[in-house]
């Protein structure tokens, strides 16, 4: 077993080593540090995941103090899945950066990237509310830096928007934490969960829940709070958009479900939120129809998908959670793939305008195939894993007797198909006689992700049974989480 603390300590050492290295003029090494660190995180997160599968939730205290008094890490299956996704995303992004260098100052870029990994890992593993806030801050600040990194006007604008909206989110989150603390007298998540389950009608708890809806809604990109997303995904460097869309949004969702499912055991204004989220998804998918910029298009598409993932977690059923986790995995892999490939296209064409991409699928068949598989997966067509995600979600929806949400999901899939197949149409329609050199780095990274996606498509039921069902069960049974801290 890997001590989960190492998942935090190693990226931190990595991040602190980078200034040392750049002081001795070995700045170039920084990209390898990100690569090694994220590989370490990935491997140890996978090991940890298998360990947790056998032992159940793992609680590790920090500084030797018993949980309610000190800080502890609580490693759950879902948390491990998120860390695996996140470190995979950062690994892939850093692998891509080994070949396509980010602009100067590169060492700062890599620091931010490592700390993004660190923050996300911390959020997913921590068992302490305030600690979660600290890691949320780390994640957000790293994300602000990275989204504003391309300093070409749009970058700064997007970063600034993200900063404004994100700091409102942090503020509300902090307020929520404070209010909870005044009532429960503890910051430990398990202790808070134990408390708020028996004090549901306490207005302070309710008010703090509202604060959390707003604060985490912003981080998790949930509908009425996700305004910053298209700008940021569009303006960020390609490898970073891949991490944002693939992993960071999932970290936000993790925080959201950890707090609302584990701590509050439900969410206030439940019915209203379900429809709000779904309508938001529909609007986002509709907005994607008009995008002329491919990154913006996929940003809106992400918003739509995230709406469905959140909806799955709002279902209050273990199979809904399982479907949500499956969707989350699927969406993370696909979005990483797509943004990495967009990076490859950008290197070749130096544009992200869709109209200028005519015929590149025929010019570069491998890119075309990878992109097409990604799109088919996203569109939820069999035999790819997106189909199974949709299937599990619809099944859970119908078992919960939600007919209208199911129709909304179907309509949204239809809209998705419209803009996704329009992309295939553009990629394969005649145009662009000039031969371009598509970056092999982006194709190689694409291959790794495609293998994962195909793996998920081949054994979806196995993955559901072995992984997502178990994770969903441990999420659904709050007592398992609470029991760890006594």
């Amino acid at each position: 077993m890997v001590n989960p603390v190492l998942l935090i300590a190693v990226p931190l050492i990595g991040a602190f080593l980078i200034p040392l290295l750049s002081a001795v003029r070995l700045k170039v090494l920084s990209r390898y540090i990100v690569f090694i660190t994220s590989s370490f995180s990935l491997v140890s997160a996978i090991l940890l995941f298998y360990h947790v599968t056998y032992t159940g939730i793992l609680s590790v205290s920090i500084a030797g103090f018993k949980p309610p008094f000190g800080i502890n890490l609580e490693v759950t299956l879902l948390g491990c899945i998120i860390v695996v996704l996140l470190s995979l995303g950062v690994l892939i992004s850093s692998f891509y950066n080994l070949f396509i260098y980010p602009s100067e100052p590169e060492d700062k870029f890599n620091i931010a990237l490592i700390l993004l990994l660190l923050g996300g890992t911390g959020i997913s593993l921590t068992g302490d509310m305030f600690n979660m806030f600290v890691f949320l801050e780390i994640t957000s600040i790293a994300a602000y830096i990275l989204s504003a990194y391309k300093r070409n006007g749009t970058g700064e604008e997007a970063g600034l928007k993200y900063l404004f909206i994100g700091s409102i989110g942090s503020l509300f989150f902090l307020l929520g934490v404070i209010l909870l603390y005044t009532q429960a007298g503890s910051l430990n998540i398990a202790r808070l969960a134990q408390y708020s389950a028996s004090h549901l009608n306490n207005p302070v708890i309710l008010f703090s829940a509202i604060m959390f809806i707003v604060g985490l809604g912003i981080e998790a990109e949930i509908f009425p709070f996700n305004w910053w997303v298209p700008d940021v995904y569009q303006a960020a460097p390609d490898s970073i958009s891949s991490v944002f869309a693939g992993a960071i949004s999932k970290v936000g969702i993790y925080a959201f479900i950890r707090i609302f499912i584990t701590v509050f055991n439900g969410i206030p204004y439940y019915e209203a939120l379900i429809y709000l989220v779904l309508v938001g998804s529909l609007i986002a998918e509709g907005a994607a129809l008009f995008q002329k910029d491919i990154k913006r298009l996929f940003a809106y598409s992400s918003l739509g998908q995230i709406g469905f993932i959140v909806f799955a977690f709002l279902l209050k059923r273990a199979d809904g959670y399982s479907a949500g986790i499956f969707m989350l995995l699927n969406h993370a892999l696909v979005k990483m793939l797509i943004f990495i490939l967009i990076g490859g296209i950008f290197v070749a064409l130096s544009t992200t305008e869709i109209e200028k991409m005519k015929g590149i699928g025929r010019k570069s068949p491998i890119l075309g195939i990878l992109f097409t598989i990604g799109i088919l997966t996203l569109a939820g067509l069999p035999p790819f894993s997106g189909f199974y995600a949709k299937l599990f979600l619809l099944k859970a929806t119908f078992q919960h007797n939600y007919f209208i949400p199911a129709i909304i999901i179907i309509v949204a899939s239809l809209i998705e198909a419209f803009y996704l197949f329009r992309l295939i149409y553009i990629f394969y329609s005649p145009g662009h006689e000039k031969k371009h050199s598509f970056s092999t780095a982006s194709l190689a990274t694409g291959f790794i992700l495609i293998i994962l996606i195909l793996g998920m498509s081949i054994i979806p039921f196995h993955i559901k049974k072995q992984y997502t069902d178990k994770a969903a069960k441990s999420l659904f049974m709050r007592s398992l989480y609470i029991k760890e801290v006594k």
């Binding site: 001590n3 603390v5 935090i8 300590a9 931190l12 050492i13 991040a15 602190f16 080593l17 980078i18 200034p19 040392l20 290295l21 750049s22 002081a23 001795v24 590790v60 205290s61 920090i62 500084a63 030797g64 103090f65 309610p68 008094f69 000190g70 800080i71 100067e104 100052p105 700062k108 870029f109 620091i111 931010a112 700390l115 660190l118 911390g122 305030f130 600690n131 600290v134 890691f135 801050e137 780390i138 600040i141 790293a142 602000y144 830096i145 504003a148 990194y149 300093r151 209010l179 005044t182 009532q183 429960a184 007298g185 503890s186 910051l187 306490n202 207005p203 302070v204 008010f207 703090s208």
Partner: protein, 228 residues
């Protein structure tokens, strides 16, 4: 109109907050966690908590992990600002600093450094600690910039301190993991409360934090004052 609207919004939010806060019992004894802290840190039941004030114990020991996070936040914020300042041309000053500033800085600078160092070295004994100490050191660097227009700060020195101190913090934590079985464990024990060498890893961590914050903020000052 705009103002009235804003007023209504703020008023409603405030009303909600007020309504909520009115349900919070004020001054009604200590919560479970607070009671534990008071009993262990002040009454010295805990063999590991050795600072003279409870806040230091909480900040560095009980919630040392958060402090590590805060250090990281500061580090990240400084990094972000230096990214922002990267490649920007800085403003040229037209007038020279006065003689008083120049001389005064020369005299006062060592004392500022000393004060900063004193504050973080005595973090476990007196109020203050790593963060304020570091900030005071950075103030000294800022003062030098103000008096000498063509001063070039030892940038790589800042970076070395920043990086090595950060690493040291994590390494101290890892030693705790190896020795005591948990990260940031106070493996040195509490010692005799009130002495300079006491409270286990608290002074070590405060020195680390102080130097790191000082170097970071000095680097930040440098980024704002010089072309990068």
């Amino acid at each position: 109109m705009r103002h009235i609207f804003a007023l209504i919004v703020v008023g409603t939010l405030g009303l909600g907050l007020f309504y909520t806060l009115s349900h919070i019992p004020f001054g009604k004894g200590l919560s479970e966690v607070s009671k534990y802290y008071v009993e262990n840190a002040i009454d010295k039941n805990d063999p590991h908590a050795g600072a003279t004030n409870i806040v230091t114990d909480i900040v560095v020991l009980y919630r040392g992990f958060d402090t590590l996070g805060e250090v990281t936040v500061l580090f990240l914020a400084a990094t972000g600002l230096s990214v922002f300042f990267f490649g920007l041309k800085k403003k040229e000053y037209t007038c020279e600093p006065s003689l008083i500033v120049k001389r005064g800085t020369g005299i006062i600078f060592p004392f500022i450094l000393l004060l900063g160092v004193y504050i973080f070295v005595h973090g476990h004994l007196t109020p203050g600690g790593g963060f304020p100490g570091g900030v005071i050191i950075a103030t000294g660097v800022l003062l030098i910039y103000l008096c000498c227009r063509d001063y070039k700060a030892p940038h790589s020195l800042f970076k070395v301190i920043e990086g090595s101190m950060g690493t040291l913090f994590v390494i101290v934590g890892l030693i705790g993991l190896i020795v005591g079985g948990s990260f940031l464990f106070n493996f040195l024990g509490a010692g005799k409360t009130g002495e300079l060498v006491s409270a286990g890893i608290i002074p070590i961590l405060y020195i680390v934090i102080g130097l790191k914050v000082g170097a970071e903020l000095s680097g930040l000052v440098k980024d704002t004052m010089e072309d990068v």
